[in-house]
């Protein structure tokens, strides 16, 4: 199958290893992966700031870039959700609509489309999962603690296939990290406090590695971890699934 690799702008610039791991992982599962070199950004930074109208240029570009694929896969729930909910094209709405229907966050693509049974990965660490809100509550990659419904988690389902990994139960299983795009600077005090509290939960439970499906949240947590010179590190789920 022909998969278009959609890499968030900040991952491209700051976390190339996450994009590489995603690419290698998809290739391991026999996907033919194409990476449109002209891609930039999903437009969410403008839209969440109240400037959805300004994201039209991004939308047109995105639609052009990803027109020809069977699926579009992205290692970020937030960027995926934005495309799913808000991608529209004045030039080619038909293609935009089709893209909205076939864009997937990495873990849901692995579980729902590829129906991955085995991952040949080894990761001998105590790992805490940060449930990123847009993946979880937006794309329903896992059950939400607010709802009275049977639990499930696509991320945990995949991580449980990794050898020697120890998944750690947190005190608050799905609280927001406080990144929130421009929120992290516009509401600096609350944002930082939210991140600090998330980190404290992982540390209290002796987590060695914090993982998740969204590098933006992990970047936020990493910024806090590094400031306090913590030994805890962050790894995107793609890096763990591609490890060993």
């Amino acid at each position: 199958m022909n998969v278009g690799l959609f890499i968030p702008c900040y991952v491209n610039q700051f976390y190339p290893q996450v994009a590489i791991a995603t690419l290698q992982l998809l290739e391991k599962f026999n996907c033919k992966v194409g990476y449109p070199l002209q891609q930039t950004c999903c437009g969410q930074p403008m839209a969440n700031s109240g400037y959805e109208k300004l994201s039209q240029g991004c939308n047109e570009l995105f639609t052009e870039n990803f027109a020809g694929f069977d699926y579009i896969v992205c290692p970020s729930g937030s960027c995926t959700l934005h495309i799913k909910d808000h991608l529209h094209s004045h030039k080619d709405e038909k293609t935009a609509a089709s893209i909205r229907g076939k864009v997937y966050e990495l873990s849901e693509f692995l579980v729902d489309i590829l129906k991955v049974e085995e991952v040949n990965a080894v990761f001998p660490y105590r790992v805490g999962v940060h449930q990123s809100c847009h993946g979880q509550r937006g794309l329903h990659t896992s059950q939400m603690s607010e709802l009275v419904a049977a639990p499930f988690s696509k991320i945990n389902q995949l991580l449980n296939k990794v050898q020697q990994i120890e998944l750690v139960q947190l005190n608050r299983v799905d609280e927001c990290c406080g990144f929130g795009g421009t929120f992290c600077v516009a509401e600096e005090a609350v944002s930082a406090r939210m991140g600090q509290d998330r980190v404290a939960d992982h540390e209290k439970n002796n987590v060695q590695v914090i993982t998740g499906g969204d590098m933006s949240c992990l970047m936020h947590l990493e910024g806090i971890l590094r400031r306090k010179k913590s030994n805890v590190v962050v790894k995107h789920i793609a890096e763990i699934l591609n490890a060993g």
Binding site: I20, G180, E188, G223
Partner: protein, 480 residues
């Protein structure tokens, strides 16, 4: 409490507690400024967060005790959707029934008219001292201030509301009005006002003191105001829910009972109370039901009963397709308790009567300019929508308000300029790549650095370490 405020957008410095709302309103401080002030006391923020998280957990426990919980939410939502789509007829029906029950019905187009109506009833009875149980509508309308200016003494009888009233503050939470107060501070406040022993912060003793203080008011006041949780079109009755029994103490002991309600409080039939009462207390505090769910259908013998139906912007909100279903709200406060931002910024940082996520989608309807900051006081995490017993899509509405506020020109010019630069860069791959050295590009365009001094991130967080090459560069070398 000692308050120092420096203007010109410098951070507010406060001691002790969040600012009283009247100070906030005078000085036009924004949510980020007030939240920054609140976060100066780290231990207090932790305590505030944990206290409310505990309430959220109680709510979860109560919800999980009912396998039909999600069905109840769906049903409640559908009932309220029906109400909004047929509100005109339900209002007419409710008035007819209430009149037939011997109740006097008043209509108030806005807050001012509401306050005037209430005041005129007091004047007719030559009353200058009244008791009032919790009503967020009267908070919204500024009734206490209005009556105080007209030399009427209002005693709030809900314990939490009385506490904030004695401190000359406003509630910071619609269900837990003084959730931001520590018991030691309440002990001090009561020592000053109710002569409790100095240094005693025992909740039992303090509550007993308040009971004695307020009982005297209940027994001597001739007019009582209450809020309304639900008003039934079919029967003309209205239901008031409390745990303390203060609404009943006030209403049954007074000669005149005035019930103030927003027009959206109407429900079609009595049977719908079954659905909504099952959800209300469980969502609010995790209780299976409030201690008292009082159904007022006719005036007490020898008593006068008034209902004031208030619009105050609701009919406008009803016309806003994207935002109308915010009017489904039953004021349970669950979205406050679950909101990670509310828990860490305190109710007063929202500088409006109804704080929290729901307040942030209601307030811009009343005044876009004044409340333009509130829809941005959220990470759009979506937890609020999930706990909402009537399934208001709160986080989607926050997103949509951001778009509306920007289009209506309530966004800072500098932000617009920055966004335009970013949009242009991101729409053109050539520019994206020609942005120069990676770090320069990033610092120029990355979303979390836009419209702000870059040190807002750096203040409490390290910047990501720049790698040697971007993924695109790696890909070109390795895959093409």
């Amino acid at each position: 409490m000692f308050i120092v405020i420096r203007l010109n957008h410098s951070p507010l410095t406060i001691h002790h507690r969040p600012l009283p709302i009247h100070i906030i309103m005078t000085h036009n401080a924004t949510h980020p400024q007030l939240a920054t002030a609140f976060n100066k006391d780290e231990a207090r923020v932790g305590w505030h967060d944990e206290t409310l998280w505990w309430v959220r957990q109680k709510r979860d426990k109560a919800a999980w005790a009912l396998p039909e919980w999600e069905q109840l939410r769906d049903t409640a939502s559908a009932i309220k959707q029906n109400v909004l789509s047929n509100l005109h007829d339900y209002l007419v029906q409710f008035e007819q029934q209430a009149l037939a029950n011997g109740v006097k019905v008043h209509w108030a187009a806005d807050a001012k008219e509401h306050n005037e109506i209430v005041h005129s009833i007091l004047q007719q009875h030559n009353v200058t001292q009244i008791v009032k149980s919790k009503s967020m509508l009267t908070e919204e309308c500024g009734l206490n201030e209005y009556l105080a200016n007209n030399k009427v003494e209002v005693i709030d009888t809900d314990l939490g509301e009385r506490i904030v009233q004695l401190a000359n503050e406003h509630p910071s939470h619609i269900v837990l009005p003084c959730i931001h107060w520590k018991k030691e501070e309440i002990g001090e406040l009561f020592h000053q006002h109710l002569n409790t022993p100095e240094g005693n912060a025992d909740p039992k003793l303090l509550t007993a003191a308040a009971r004695e203080h307020l009982r005297e008011k209940f027994l001597t006041r001739k007019i009582a105001i209450t809020g309304v949780n639900f008003a039934v079109a079919e029967t003309g009755e209205f239901v008031v829910c409390t745990n303390e029994g203060n609404a009943d103490m006030g209403a049954h002991l007074a000669d005149v009972h005035i019930a103030c309600m927003g027009i959206e409080k109407i429900i079609p039939k009595r049977e719908h109370l079954g659905v909504l009462l099952r959800l209300l207390a469980r969502s609010a505090t995790g209780q299976p039901v409030t201690t008292y769910s009082s159904h007022f259908q006719q005036p007490n013998a020898g008593q006068e009963m008034h209902i004031v139906l208030v619009d105050n912007g609701r009919s406008v909100q009803l016309g806003r397709e994207d935002f109308r279903n915010s009017l489904k709200c039953i004021r349970c406060g669950a979205c406050f308790n679950t909101c990670p931002v509310y828990r860490r910024s305190g109710g007063h940082s929202y500088h409006t009567a109804i704080a929290g996520p729901i307040g942030s989608i209601l307030a811009p309807n009343l005044d876009m300019k004044k409340y333009a900051d509130l829809p941005f006081a959220s990470t759009l995490c979506g937890s609020c929508s999930n706990v909402c017993p009537v399934k208001i899509d709160i986080h989607n509405q926050l997103y949509k308000w951001r778009q509306v506020l920007t289009e209506e020109g309530h966004s800072p010019k500098s932000k617009t300029v920055a966004m335009k630069v970013m949009a242009t860069a991101l729409a053109k791959p050539g520019l994206f790549k020609a942005g120069g050295k990676m770090m320069r590009w990033v610092l120029k365009y990355m979303p979390w650095l836009v419209n702000n001094k870059m040190n807002a991130w750096y203040k409490q967080r390290e910047m990501p370490a720049p790698p040697e090459q971007s993924f695109t560069e790696w890909y070109k070398k390795n895959r093409t």
